[in-house]
């Protein structure tokens, strides 16, 4: 008898990366940033403000455990140990439960700082599309937060909402973006804002026999529209960058760009040669990068002492 395996369409792949071009032993300051979010957790390790290693994992039911899991995964391909880190900062929803961190900073500050590093100092608007919230942030050329708007009360427009949809339509979440363009004509968007009611609407469309990709397009458009509301409240100024998981979903990003009339800016933090080699780049690590950069700046200015154990 063949047992049917339950496919979890929402389950996105966890990733990690170590920079082969950096010898951490030659670095002055090794800093860590651990972003424990409601849905995903990232650990970033930097050597003198350069990206050395990172990981992106799913948050478990226990925050300290999730923090350890992502930190250990980030350092998997390296001989650097957690004890070699000079200073570590925790951020995100679960930031008070990051055991290896000496300090915490809010994820808003970290995302703006991280986006400044990843997308360049010209970025003035950062849209962080997280698992259970979304935040539109205006910042200056140093990545300092000037103003922000957020929604953390409603799943519409969040990564969790997209996961719920992927599970319902039975399409892997990372395929949603490209599938949303395999259509003849852009359909009207899903009219329900509420994710729960949108589910009912989607079931109805499926029963009517609407093509799957059209329904995917309709959902991506609704999500883009929802986020536009938030951005319009804040006021968008170029350059505009998106961080977080939904930044990987071109179905939402392209439709969002069309609605607000601005294109998103491309990442700049790695050199183009590395990019040609297809080295990984993860939009979800902005918070972790920001945290690690704050740690580096604090050490450089002598504001904090190294907590290095080994």
């Amino acid at each position: 008898m063949v047992e049917a395996k339950k496919v979890e369409y929402w389950r996105w792949p966890e990733t990690s990366w170590v920079n082969p071009g950096i010898d951490w032993r030659k670095g002055k300051f090794i800093t860590g940033g651990v972003d424990v979010g409601s849905v995903s957790s990232q650990a970033v390790v930097m050597v003198d403000g350069q990206l050395y290693a990172y990981s992106n994992t799913r948050t478990g039911s226990d925050s300290p455990e999730s923090a350890w899991k992502c930190m250990n995964m980030a350092l998997e391909g390296s001989d650097l140990k957690v004890d070699n880190i000079d200073y570590c900062i925790g951020t995100g929803y679960g930031r008070v439960n990051v055991p290896m961190a000496q300090q915490t900073i809010t994820e808003i500050a970290c995302h703006a700082r991280g986006a400044n590093f990843m997308y360049g100092p010209e970025v003035r608007t950062v849209m962080d599309m997280g698992g259970q919230d979304c935040k539109a942030i205006r910042c200056d050329d140093r990545g300092k937060v000037l103003k922000f708007m957020m929604n953390d009360k409603c799943a519409a427009g969040t990564g969790r909402g997209m996961e719920v949809f992927a599970d319902l339509i039975r399409v892997p979440v990372w395929e949603i973006g490209s599938r949303s363009f395999q259509i003849d004509k852009e359909p009207p968007m899903i009219s329900s804002t509420c994710v729960v009611f949108a589910k009912t609407e989607v079931v109805g469309l499926l029963q009517e026999g609407k093509p799957e990709n059209e329904i995917i397009a309709a959902y991506c458009a609704a999500m883009a529209h929802r986020i536009t509301e938030l951005l319009n409240r804040l006021g968008v100024e170029e350059k505009f960058a998106i961080t977080g998981g939904i930044a990987k979903n071109i179905g939402v990003v392209k439709r969002l760009e069309k609605e607000i009339g601005f294109n998103t800016v491309e990442a700049v933090w790695y050199d183009p040669k590395m990019r040609e080699k297809g080295l990984p780049f993860d939009t979800q690590i902005a918070g972790g990068i920001g945290a690690a950069l704050f740690a580096n700046a604090m050490l450089e200015r002598g504001r904090v002492k190294s907590a290095r154990k080994a």
Binding site: I108, F148, N151, R160, S192, V195, V196, L230, R233
Partner: protein, 276 residues
């Protein structure tokens, strides 16, 4: 006079046939995708139950969010008007009505004659609706009918952080992981919706007697939570889920084929400005 009242909601259709104010037959069915068709089918069922034919019925009045889909209706009235007409027949002292259905929660203030004076509604969001209870019952892995029994056993009130049904589901799961007893979680769920509906009710103002109707009114656990949230007594008529249909039937008797009611739509504030 034999009349029919039919209430087509987002989730269920309810139909009643009355003769000189006495109920001859009643029926309930899921409204599904094709709401007009579901109404048609249910109408034939209740006619059969009453041993009647369509021509025996003098008038049919429809109501509910999809009341206009009822092809065989002579008239359509808004659900708030139907609620008011339905409640006033059974509880003449009613001045405030709270109706929590599958996909909507609303509150209205009514006159002693059963006219809607003020009306607020929570729509487009599952928080504060029957769907919220259904979703949480699924996360708790208990039949939704068990929720009331469980919640009444609880002696402890745990606040739920999540307002959103999707986030609420994850919160319920983490409460289970923390080994929180199921009855305390059930109560937390009811308290959360009651809080949400309470704020909708306060928009129209609370005046005794407060009457609760709609499918969720059958959930005694929820009614308890609502009483606490409002710090007031709440009455529930018999067959609270049929009140809309009964109100439509009352309108049919009175020969009212249309009515206008203005609603204040309560949009949940989801976007907040933060300080840098």
């Amino acid at each position: 006079m034999i009349v029919t009242g039919i209430d087509v909601g987002g989730k269920n259709v309810h139909a009643v046939i009355t003769k000189n104010g006495t109920m001859l037959a009643k029926g309930e069915a899921p409204s599904g995708i094709n709401k007009g068709e579901a109404a048609e089918k249910l109408y034939d069922e209740v006619l059969k139950q009453a041993g009647l034919k369509r021509q025996d019925v003098t008038r049919v009045v429809a109501t509910g969010s999809s009341g206009s889909r009822v092809a065989f209706a002579d008239g359509v009235i808004p659900d708030a008007a139907a609620d008011a007409r339905g409640v006033i027949q059974f509880i003449p002292s009613a001045r405030t009505i709270i109706d929590v259905g599958g996909e909507e929660g609303r509150a209205m203030k009514i006159s002693p004659e059963g006219k809607v004076l003020d009306f607020a509604i929570n729509e487009r969001c599952a928080a504060g609706t029957g769907t919220f209870v259904d979703t949480m019952a699924r996360a708790l892995e208990v039949p939704v009918e068990e929720m009331a029994k469980l919640s009444i056993k609880s002696t402890r009130s745990i606040p739920m952080n999540a307002q959103c049904a999707v986030f609420g589901e994850s919160e319920v799961v983490s409460l289970i992981h923390q080994k929180t007893p199921k009855h305390d979680i059930a109560r937390a769920v009811h308290d959360a919706i009651a809080g949400r509906i309470g704020s909708v009710a306060r928009i129209v103002g609370l005046e005794d007697d407060i009457v609760m109707v709609g499918g969720v009114a059958k959930n005694t656990g929820f009614v308890e939570s609502l009483k606490q949230a409002l710090s007031a007594e709440v009455k529930v008529p018999k067959d609270p889920e049929y009140i809309g249909a009964l109100g439509a039937a009352a309108a049919a008797v009175a020969g009212v084929l249309e009515e206008k009611v203005e609603a204040k739509v309560v949009e949940k504030k989801t976007i907040e400005e933060g300080k840098a």
